[in-house]
């Protein structure tokens, strides 16, 4: 899912799936995140930051 809005204080982000559906995601486990980042999300929690260097390479 792609990050579209960030609430840093509450460690939450609004994320959009590829079909456009949006949901609130807990990003504490992958913080910090930036607008446009891709995250692997499971059960409302981001588990992997897909835009980190290892993945982007």
């Amino acid at each position: 899912m792609r990050v579209t809005r960030i609430d840093e204080e509450r460690r939450l982000a609004l994320c959009a799936a590829r079909d456009g559906a949006t949901s609130t995601v807990e990003v504490e486990l992958v913080a910090p995140v930036a607008l446009g980042d891709s995250l692997l999300v499971h059960a409302g929690v981001a588990l992997v930051h897909l835009t980190h260097e290892e993945v982007a390479a």
């Binding site: 590829r18 949901s23 807990e26 504490e28 992958v30 692997l40 929690v45 588990l47």
Partner: protein, 371 residues
């Protein structure tokens, strides 16, 4: 889409399948277990099975979170859901798992306030919106889902949400794999490792498989090419007489997993001495419960939970399917008395269950074969 489309390329898939065909030893039978129910689903959805040589057999493992929940645990959930003033929340596929007197969905139809949620955070929101009610989340799943429950509990504690609690049925993947490897029923040549569990736990917990049992493991993604490539890597290890944990899913799975997730889980959960698995029986240190620091949010301490062990229906062979001893279609009730619309066994309930995957995508091919 990056990371997805290129792993669904049919031409590349056929090329890898051709390389697999050329590499197998004629006369040797290869048995490879895909541990995760997500892999089982993809294998049937994309027809990966049909691309493999006849002597490469895929065996479906115990990694479907819903499938391994025993009937007694469903009955426990229904008992809590029937308590006055309770809003009981769970994932959608859990609602259809049969207990001894029906499913959570049927209990809802009979008047219990049972609601489907997409994440435990949704359940916490319901609790905050209904302070006069007790809101319980039925937590199931492997290490992929457990961090979500753990973070929700941390949030509940930090925000002082006292009317929220969790009925914890989380399980861990290594103990059942060890039980399967110790079982005389099954001879396996290698494992397709559970990609999404490994995003949390990393690759290291699977080192015992090559070290203690001399079997290769390849952690894999969930697209058809991921699975084909993982099978090819396993066969290569066997051909080279190598035995190690390899990571095919490097674009997503870091070798060390997610350390923050592991720390949160260690704070919120502790291992149960035993936990009952459907079809596999009681396995030591395979289930999670809330730690003492979170005892105030433990639904099993807050409510009266019967905790009665219930035997599976005689006709149901989910246990043998989960152990990979029989194929879904070899079960006596597959596709007749047991269907996704009216499941008898758990493997027919979830889209990750081997029986449901085979029923939805694979049975027609099998029927053609029989004809």
């Amino acid at each position: 889409m990056k990371f997805v489309d290129e792993f669904r390329d049919a031409e590349l898939g056929r090329a890898v399948a051709g390389e697999i065909l050329a590499s197998v030893e004629p006369g040797r039978h290869y048995k490879v277990m895909e541990v995760c129910g997500g892999h089982t689903h993809s294998i049937y959805k994309y027809g990966v099975d049909d691309l493999l040589p006849a002597n490469v057999e895929l065996v479906h493992g115990p990694g479907c979170p819903v499938c391994v929940i025993p009937m007694g645990r469903v009955d426990d959930g229904i008992a809590v859901a029937r308590e006055p003033g309770v809003i009981f929340t769970c994932f959608g596929d859990m609602m259809r798992v049969p207990g001894s007197e029906g499913s959570l969905l049927e209990a809802k139809a009979r008047g219990a306030d049972i609601r489907m949620v997409y994440s435990p955070l949704d359940a916490l929101r319901i609790a905050k919106a209904n302070p006069e009610r007790q809101v319980v989340f039925f937590a199931i799943g492997f290490e992929t889902t457990a961090p979500s429950t753990a973070l929700t509990l941390k949030r509940a504690k930090a925000e002082g949400v006292a009317n929220f609690s969790v009925m914890c049925s989380h399980v861990t993947i290594v103990p059942p794999l060890r039980a399967l490897l110790d079982s005389p029923d099954l001879r396996l040549d290698g494992f397709i490792g559970p990609g999404h569990v490994c995003t949390v736990v990393g690759a290291r917990p699977f080192d015992f498989i090559p070290a203690d049992y001399d079997r290769p493991v390849v952690i894999a993604g969930f697209e058809p090419l991921d699975i084909l490539q993982a099978i090819q890597m396993i066969l290569r290890q066997l051909d080279d007489d190598r035995c190690e944990v390899e990571n095919q899913y490097k674009r997503v799975v870091p070798h060390e997993g997610n350390q923050r997730a592991l720390e949160v889980m260690a704070e919120v959960f502790e291992l149960r001495p035993h936990f009952e698995w459907r079809g596999l029986g009681f396995i030591s240190h395979s289930g999670l419960k809330l730690s003492d620091a979170y005892a105030d949010w433990d639904a099993e301490l807050r409510f009266s939970v019967p905790g009665v062990r219930v035997a599976d229906p005689k006709a149901c062979q989910c246990g043998e399917v989960l152990k990979g001893v029989i194929k879904p279609w070899e079960c006596k009730v597959f596709g007749t008395a047991c269907t996704p619309e009216r499941p008898i066994g758990t493997c027919m309930v979830s889209s990750e269950g081997a029986c449901a995957a085979y029923y939805n995508f694979g049975r027609f091919a099998r029927e053609r074969e029989v004809v």
